[in-house]
Symmetry: C2
Subunit: 276 residues, 2 copies
């Protein structure tokens, strides 16, 4: 059974196009490779009401995992935990484990730099103020801890927006959860690049190959123009080793390449990217 | 009064992290520069039910504009118009104006290339099959027309996913609508880069400057680590010329820079990007 995940990215900078949403793309790639299907990405503003509404909607759709990025830092506009607390009708309170983590970071910074450690000011305590009944996750690459919240069988993971911190927490503490939930399924993909065949001519071939190989999903990505056609055909499948997903993929490629050549198209190259 | 827009991006390739969502970022930048506020970005799969659900949710939030990207091509997985038709409870039918546009494109391709024009096969007619009561928009850079749908005062613009086609239609036919709706407001932004001051120390300064300059929004973007702090502080405002938005911005910058220097921080550079 497919394990679903949704991604929620918080940040005005994403909405105004100042920052490209590389976090959603990185998380999508990781989850897919682990056998978990990303069903939706939602990007919302740094606004408590907006976030609360978005998280409520995502929770209602009941994916197995929700991973959010952004809004965990010390400044006023870092409001994700407030938004989630509102969505869940939970109060915010200082989490002792999170406070210990934040304190330890500032201690470390003092030792390795000439920056004064200073006291646990409100902006610093803020990073340890979590919705009640939640779990702090160690941030190996930065200050603000991640947060895990379990709600009605849904696992909500709250990560910072700085890519290297988000990635470090994901790899250490989130990937193992996804891998375990997905079981022994693997994701396999492969691309065929073609020249001199229009997408509108390829369309029925894709239909036929998907019909003959129901485990395989094929998506066409036009790289040229319809009148100077250069296409990427991306074939993918997800399956257990016992279902021989790689053999299924090879079969579909051979059939598709045959149809393309038969119609005067040219298969320029076949590129394999196997990720497990 | 703020004019709101939402963006809906359709495509499995975005969810699996195969393709970075540059379309959302490009559209966000354009809309912001035109004085329209992007409130949310939603990324959904190439699945009619998923899309219908997502479009229904977006319509319920009643932004003035909805701009979607992706899923207008000739292949089976190009299902956006089907998803929208389902969300709106409208039937799909061949739109004569769209059909004329698609036919003209294939005629042009024949003239300029050695590719046979061929007939209007089902995949080609598909690109001219729109929800009823909608308007085809000329695609200056590709085959599939864009679509405009008016629903309860909301303008839904449906664009292709290929960036240069999406951008060409937006610039020719969508930007003027946004500009007119936003009126004479302009968006102004500016970044201060700082060294040697931790985000947790900056936090109360940002609060103070935003309190003193209520038209200005300030967002901190950590570029280093909390222990080796290098920060970008992004100040932005939106306003009519009569509100002197640029003067407001300058005032806030001067106040913020003063506070940073007073706390031993260093202002490395100030970067202006004025977009109207």
């Amino acid at each position: 059974m497919t394990v679903y995940m949704e991604i929620v990215c918080v940040g005005n900078e994403l909405l105004i196009g100042k920052v490209l949403n590389t976090n959603a793309s990185w998380l999508g790639k990781q989850a897919t490779a682990l056998g978990v299907a990303v069903k939706r990405v939602t990007v919302v503003a740094d606004d408590v009401e907006e976030m609360a509404a978005a998280f409520r909607e995502v929770l209602k759709r009941k994916p197995k995992f929700i991973v959010s990025t952004g809004g965990l830092g010390p400044t006023f506009d870092d409001k994700t935990l407030e938004g989630i607390a509102k969505a869940l009708n939970r109060k915010l309170a200082v989490n002792q484990e999170a406070l210990r983590m934040v304190k330890a970071k500032y201690k470390e910074y003092t030792k390795t730099n000439n920056i004064p450690e200073g006291e646990m000011t409100p902006p610093r305590v803020k990073m340890a103020t979590l919705p009640i009944g939640t779990e702090a996750i160690l941030n190996p690459a930065g200050t603000a801890p991640g947060v895990r919240i379990d709600v009605d069988g849904i696992v909500l993971i709250v990560l910072p927006g700085v890519p290297k911190e988000m990635e470090a927490i994901f790899e250490a503490s989130v990937a193992p959860l996804l891998r375990q939930a997905a079981g022994d399924v693997g994701y396999f993909e492969l691309s065929i690049y073609t020249d001199n065949i229009m997408e509108s001519v390829l369309a029925p071939f894709i239909d036929k190959v998907m019909h003959d190989n129901p485990q395989i999903y094929i998506k066409s990505h036009p790289k040229g123009r319809e009148n100077k056609p250069h296409m990427e055909l991306h074939l993918s499948t997800i399956g257990k080793p016992s279902e021989n997903p790689q053999i299924c993929l090879s079969k579909a490629v051979v059939e598709l390449a045959g149809l393309i050549k038969g119609a005067g198209g040219e298969v320029v190259k076949v590129e394999t990217e196997v990720t497990v």
